[in-house]
């Protein structure tokens, strides 16, 4: 096994301060709300507060009459009124029909933000309410109201492998379950925002808080009817994304762009938090049905999964999310026969979009719950059952029939996490209840495909530019974005390592669509590896011109030049060296081109969407989390005390940033699993604020213990694999299993809020006897003493 590698010398795998550290701790990073231009107007949106209605008319007179208002636009003012990322099922401004809360009637530009939002509230829409449908299972019924098009089932994805009926006969135990897995809001701390700067009627610049400047470029170009080259999108420093700034920011950008185009002024649009929570995309709520069977020895014989994914009123990225949910439904386990169906279903709920994990967390939560149920029925330890089934180097075919490249480290991460968490000791002698608190431990694994799914592989490429400055410092531009995950720093690290210079010599600037070619979205934990590979390619091309110059200065052949420690030197005789500054100066003096571009694309793969067989992803990362919790059964309160996270990361690029990703994934995963509930009432969020939508604070965050399993693989640059999503996916499932362990009941609905836990405890709730005594028929005469059941 190739784990426990020695750290590589140089910046790789180290902890040098991030490229943006000084700016961020001094408050001098300019997020989009911190940017203003002379003459700039402020935008606001008039939006629907009901989920399903016919629009009879939109009256903008009162809004226009407001003293500070400069423009009010409705659908009639939009050159091409469609905004869907993939499918054209969403209008930018609605005309005849409201399908979800947050649908836009009108856009307002005014001299102050306050005036803009005040005027937006004066826009009157006459509506005739229509029936809506708010549950993805109810939405597939024949008589359900249609949301958007001829059928509420927009698409179904499948995985079919082996004969489940035949394998079912060999199963000694079968678990059937229905899981209701709730959605989640991204709750990035910086709300959605952008600034649109028009240049006459020729072209436009958008500065946006976003993950995918190229999506915005396409969306704005199509809404305004401009060529792509006339739309320049610059990513502003972005205050968190988590998927919420992948697809959605195209909508506010198009709104601001329209107003800028109409008024000729720069226009800034910043979402108030309440609107951000109420109107932006969410993690998809899913209903996941399982029928899984195992034989006496615990070997999984078959698995059937049917998932209803609540897409909301517009498809957005839901089909792509469904593709990942579909092939992730079984996890890193070997199963003889598999049948998966994943339905993308329209409802009148808030629409689903990209969110860290991208459909995998929900199905993983279900799969790991079923694994624990099977273990209980078989009388096996949950870890033991996983060991019997987990993939490894000898058994490495996943449910799509793809044989994984070695090393397959699922067993390794399981063993490491379990050992570090003290699983065996905990099981042998569980801690006694302390006061009301009862303790439990749970485990969860994940198999994560580290690129875009086969269905999106046309987008899976990446561009980079490297410029060697005359003083030896280096400018790097990439097409993938920084949103806190550390992409700028990872790129800096890779470029520094490849050029053999100190990271402080390398400046990586924010992406801008005019400096690099379309690099696809910054999603799927692909940022560092895709940009990194493109940078390596650019450095390789730069060296075609650099090495001969260095060779001349060194008096050697170009093939002998190596770059290290800030020098170009002769391989094998490091004393013959010349500083990179000198090489750069010489190249500049001789007018040799010092700019190089780089490109990377993933390998083409084969996959059959009808059967779900083939290679959906190029390579995979494994992870295992073990959660230790304390639960107060009387109040239903969960305290997550420790999460032990073992990750198969390939090679570490930047240790602090990597750990930070794991911390963040665990904390956010815990929030999703325990406290973050999107309370929807007929499609409308009734808790659109941080008092009622509860995200974890520093006082809630568990102790997080990390084990990194490093290996050399053919993954990303210098062997790195994505970490952003694998760090999130297993946490909630491990917490669920730990809570069930503590309480001795099964809870199949996420999140595990206090009312849910109290309900799940039913008769086993410590105060159930009170309810029972109070509701017992009066005729029954019992002894006068009442007390808790034994």
């Amino acid at each position: 096994m190739t784990s426990h590698l020695e750290p590589v010398p140089g910046p790789l795998g180290g902890r040098h301060p991030r490229i943006d550290a000084a700016a961020k701790v001094t408050g001098s990073t300019r997020y989009v709300a911190d940017l203003a231009l002379p003459g700039m107007l402020h935008a606001a949106l008039a939006t629907a507060t009901v989920a399903s209605a016919r629009v009879l008319g939109v009256d903008t007179a009162a809004a226009r009459a407001h003293a500070d208002v400069v423009a009010v636009l409705t659908a009639a003012d939009v050159p091409a009124n469609s905004i869907g990322v993939i499918f054209g099922d969403q209008p930018l401004l609605v005309t005849d029909r409201v399908r979800m809360v947050g649908d836009r009637f009108a856009l307002v530009a005014a001299r102050t933000a306050e005036a803009a939002w005040t005027a937006a509230r004066l826009v009157g829409a006459s509506l005739e309410e229509l029936p809506g449908v708010f549950d993805p299972v109810a939405a597939v019924a024949d008589d359900a109201p249609l949301v958007n098009g001829a059928s509420n089932v927009f698409r179904t994805f499948h995985v079919q492998r082996g004969d489940t009926a035949k394998q079912a006969k060999r199963a000694a135990v079968v678990v059937e379950a229905e899981y209701r897995v709730g959605g989640q809001d991204h709750a990035y701390l910086e709300p959605q925002g952008c600034l649109a700067i028009p240049e006459g009627r020729e072209r436009i610049t958008i500065v946006a808080s976003c993950q995918c400047p190229f999506y915005i470029q396409q969306g704005v170009a199509s809404v305004l009817g401009l060529p792509l080259a006339a739309v320049r999108v610059e990513q502003a420093p972005t205050g968190g994304g988590f998927g919420g700034k992948e697809d959605y920011p195209t909508e506010p950008a198009a709104c601001a762009a329209l107003l800028a185009w109409h008024t000729g002024h720069p226009v800034r649009l910043i979402y108030p938090r309440e609107l951000d929570l109420q109107a932006t995309t969410k993690r998809h709520a899913m209903v996941v049905r399982h029928r899984w069977g195992a034989d006496r020895a615990g070997r999984l014989r078959f698995a059937e999964v049917e998932t209803f994914m609540d897409a909301g009123a517009y498809v957005g990225l839901s089909t792509v999310v469904a593709e990942r949910a579909n092939v992730s439904a079984i996890g890193p386990y070997h199963v003889g026969a598999v049948r998966v169906a994943t339905h993308v279903v329209y409802t009148n709920n808030l629409f689903g979009g990209a969110f860290r994990g991208f459909g995998a967390p929900q199905v993983t939560w279900a799969a790991e719950a079923t694994m624990d149920k099977l273990a209980t029925r078989l009388g096996m330890d949950p870890v033991e059952l996983r060991r019997v089934n987990v993939l490894d180097d000898t058994r490495r075919t996943i449910c799509t029939g793809q044989r994984l490249r070695t090393p397959v480290l699922a067993r390794e991460v399981l063993d490491r996490a379990v050992e570090l968490a003290g699983w065996d000791g905990f099981r042998a002698a569980p801690p006694a209840a302390d006061g009301a608190w009862r303790h439990g431990m749970g485990v969860s694994l994940v198999l994560y495909g580290c690129n875009l799914h086969w269905g999106g592989q046309r987008l899976d490429r990446s561009s980079a530019v490297v410029i060697l400055q005359a003083d030896g410092s280096v400018v790097v531009r990439v097409g993938l974005t920084e949103m806190g995950q550390g992409n700028l720093t990872a790129c800096q690290t890779v470029a520094a390592a490849a050029l053999g210079v100190d990271p402080s010599q390398v400046q990586v600037w924010q992406p801008d669509t005019t400096t690099v070619a379309d690099s696809g979205p910054t999603v799927a934990s692909r940022g560092s590896l895709m940009s990194g590979r493109a940078i390596l390619d650019a450095v390789r091309r730069l060296r075609v011109r650099l090495d001969p110059v260095a060779a001349e200065l060194l008096g050697c052949r170009p093939g002998e030049v190596e770059l290290a420690g800030g020098f170009a030197r002769v391989a094998g005789s490091p004393e013959r060296a010349v500083a990179m500054q000198a090489v750069a100066k010489e190249m500049s003096a001789r007018r040799i081109e010092t700019i190089a571009t780089g490109w990377h694309r993933t390998k083409a793969r084969r996959f059959d969407p009808a059967t779900g067989q083939g290679a959906p992803y190029e390579f995979y990362a494994m992870a295992c989390h073990v959660a230790r919790v304390a639960v107060d059964p009387g109040l239903g309160i969960v305290r997550v005390e420790e999460v032990t996270a073992a990750h198969d990361v390939g090679r570490v690029l930047h240790r602090d940033a990597l750990e930070g990703q794991i911390h963040g994934g665990v904390v956010q995963g815990m929030g999703w699993g325990v406290s973050e509930e999107l309370r929807l009432d007929r499609g409308r969020l009734v808790n659109p604020n941080f008092t009622d939508y509860v995200i974890p604070t520093s006082a809630d965050a568990p102790r997080i213990t990390i084990a990194l399993v490093e290996s050399d693989s053919e993954a990303g640059p210098c062997g790195a694999k994505g970490i952003g999503e694998p760090s999130f996916i297993p946490t909630a499932a491990a917490v669920r299993n730990a809570v069930c362990d503590a309480l001795g009941v099964e809870v199949d609905t996420l999140p595990l809020t206090p009312p849910r836990l109290v309900e799940a405890l039913g008769e086993r709730h410590p105060f159930a006897w009170v309810v029972e005594a109070a509701t017992r028929p009066a005729t029954e005469h019992e002894p006068a003493t009442v007390g808790p059941r034994a």
């Binding site: 709300a33 911190d34 507060t49 205050g239 938090r273 309440e274 602090d656 911390h663």
Partner: protein, 209 residues
């Protein structure tokens, strides 16, 4: 908005009432949110009281004389009038901590403080923590411990840490976790933030301010 009678709302004759839905927006309107829940009409005398008043604010050791509308928040004035954009709006209703500043050395949400209330008090923002060209000890500790990701919560976190350490120079881990719990970090940088606060406490012991 959740409290409005639902039927009434769905049958509102002239379209749907949006009152409250967009209630707490824009810098100025925030003051209304502090006075009552969105959806409740603000008392008329507040709505009318838009006459600007002269105030003198002491921010980061400098005196600023300004005309300020009574309902303007300190956050609005810092950002939009004084150009001090280090303090961030995250929710503008006292729920996230991104706007945290020190008032007389005590952490306060600038979005829940009216600019007028700050008169006569010493206001410190993230911009005021620098020592000339150098980072202050708490800033240094946050950079050294990688106690941020996207950085949007970071100015607020640093101000909260600064306030915590001024009140309690040697906090325990439990006290740090609790003391910092008024500042959300959605990136979940909490483990590094706790380390940074401990480091800052050490640094201050050794002669930091």
């Amino acid at each position: 908005m959740a409290r409005k009678p639902r039927d009434n709302e769905h049958t509102c004759p002239h379209g749907v009432s949006r009152r409250g839905f967009l209630g707490s927006l824009g810098a100025g309107a925030v003051a209304a949110a502090t006075l009552g829940r969105p959806g409740e009409t603000a008392p008329p005398e507040v709505a009318d009281a838009v006459e600007p008043s002269k105030v003198t604010l002491l921010v980061n050791g400098r005196r600023h004389r300004l005309l300020v509308e009574p309902r303007w928040t300190l956050l609005h004035v810092l950002r939009e009038r004084l150009g001090l954009t280090g303090s961030k709006p995250g929710c503008e209703r006292g729920e996230c901590g991104a706007c945290t500043v020190l008032i007389d050395g005590v952490p306060r949400y600038a979005c829940l403080t009216l600019a007028l209330e700050a008169e006569g008090h010493e206001v410190t923002t993230i911009e005021g923590l620098m020592r000339g060209e150098e980072l202050g000890p708490t800033q240094q500790a946050f950079a050294a411990e990688d106690a941020f990701q996207c950085g949007y919560c970071t100015p607020g976190q640093i101000m909260a840490a600064e306030g915590l350490l001024r009140a309690k120079p040697a906090p325990t881990v439990a006290e740090i976790r609790l003391g910092m719990s008024g500042n959300l970090c959605r990136c979940g940088a909490y483990p590094h933030i706790v380390k940074a606060v401990r480091r800052a406490a050490e640094a201050r012991k050794g002669g930091g301010r």
